[in-house]
């Protein structure tokens, strides 16, 4: 269903999915905010809030994606390549 992911299981089996996941931090501290997934054309595909540990996860499709982080006072973009059956990790470190 369409509920927000608030606490992520530590292990994920990518199986037949292309998983993009990561953590948003400022210094050592997790940041509460939102992460948007944009496709190769820059179009919005999905959005999740970060969990209590700053984590996020998307079940995407193989290809090139942009992960856009929105937090109070800052935004950051990261380009990501997702592959089938692979969990791709993205670390987003925001300036203090």
């Amino acid at each position: 269903m369409c509920g927000a992911l608030t606490d992520l299981p530590t292990e994920v089996d990518a199986g037949k999915q292309a998983v993009i996941q990561g953590v948003v931090r400022r210094g050592d501290a997790p940041v509460h905010g939102y992460v948007r997934l944009l496709n190769a054309d820059g179009e919005f595909v999905a959005e999740v809030p970060t969990s209590a540990t700053g984590a996020f996860r998307f079940y995407a499709a193989p290809g090139t994606w942009t992960v856009r982080v929105l937090v109070p006072g800052a935004t950051a973009d990261r380009e990501v390549q997702a592959d089938l059956g692979v969990v791709t990790n993205v670390e987003v470190e925001l300036p203090a």
């Binding site: 269903m1 369409c2 509920g3 927000a4 608030t6 999915q17 948007r36 929105l70």
Partner: protein, 279 residues
């Protein structure tokens, strides 16, 4: 309806936190969001537990809606301001639902919970106690709700707007990309539907785009404003967002939300389905 009648901003909500005529309502599927912190004096509605029949796939009936409103301390005369996560998907769904049962004055907080949080506005865990009311709902207004046969009959005749992401529309994905892929029996879209993702109607912070931008968006997608319109998505919450845009912001007279949406249509036996990016 004009934008001023159906949308309020965060400053307005802050100025009315203690207004006895206003009830702020957070609507999420994930009620833990409310429990961790919500706008002061806001009550919560659970999209699923409160607004869906526990057995059949349908709304709660009129009597159950009346009980729900009365328990939450919402009266027929209250101005109800809805907000929630997911860029107000479920708040827009609840808005449409309140209208279905004839609530007179409903508004959405533009930008919803996300914009409120990104602006670092106050959230509290204090749960308000509201006196019980005696709410009287109207019979469901089916002029704003589409059922499956209407969708099949609308193919090639009315505007059908599929508001899911392009990959869901084309059949590449069965559900939004932040969710495990489980959904209807078949991927694809209703033939002749135009794909105008709900997200194109919203800014990054979750606020709605301007009326001018919105008109241009649908016109460029080939939506004929002289025709009636049916909007759908996967389970009817994103299409309630688009229903709000077309019916409430742009004043289109005959717009229906098909809440059965793709989880119903994509599992029906014998109906036509189109794959690919559309015509």
């Amino acid at each position: 309806m004009s934008r001023q009648q159906v949308l309020v901003d965060a400053d307005w909500v802050e100025a009315h936190l203690n207004d006895p005529n206003v009830v702020v309502v957070e609507v999420d599927e994930d009620t833990s969001a409310y429990d961790k912190g919500h706008i002061r004096n806001a009550v919560k509605l659970d999209w699923k537990k409160d607004l869906q029949d526990p057995v059949r796939r349908d709304f709660v009936d009129k009597a159950a809606f009346e009980r729900l409103m009365s328990e939450r301390g919402i009266s027929n005369d209250h101005t109800v301001v809805l907000y929630g996560g997911n860029n107000n998907w479920f708040a827009a769904y609840a808005y449409w639902y309140f209208k279905l049962y004839g609530h007179r004055d409903v508004k959405l907080l533009d930008g919803g919970r996300k914009k409120w949080e990104l602006e670092s506005r106050e959230l509290t865990q204090e749960v308000p106690v509201r006196p019980r009311t005696t709410y009287v709902a109207k019979d469901p207004d089916t002029s704003i709700r589409a059922f499956r046969d209407e969708v099949v009959n609308a193919i090639g005749k009315l505007n059908i707007i599929d508001v899911r992401s392009p990959d869901e529309f084309s059949g590449k994905l069965l559900a939004p990309a932040h969710l495990p892929q489980e959904s209807a029996q078949r991927p694809g879209h209703v033939p002749t539907a135009k794909n105008v993702p709900w997200s194109k109607a919203a800014n990054d912070d979750g606020t709605f785009k301007s009326d001018e931008e919105l008109r241009k968006l649908y016109a460029e997608a080939g939506v004929d404003f002289s025709k009636d319109t049916i909007a759908y998505c996967r389970i009817g919450e994103r299409s309630a967002h688009t229903w709000f845009v077309l019916h409430e912001l742009l004043d289109q007279p005959n717009v229906k939300n098909y809440d059965g949406s793709w989880t119903e249509y994509g599992s029906l036996v014998g109906v036509p389905i189109e794959l690919g990016s559309g015509s």
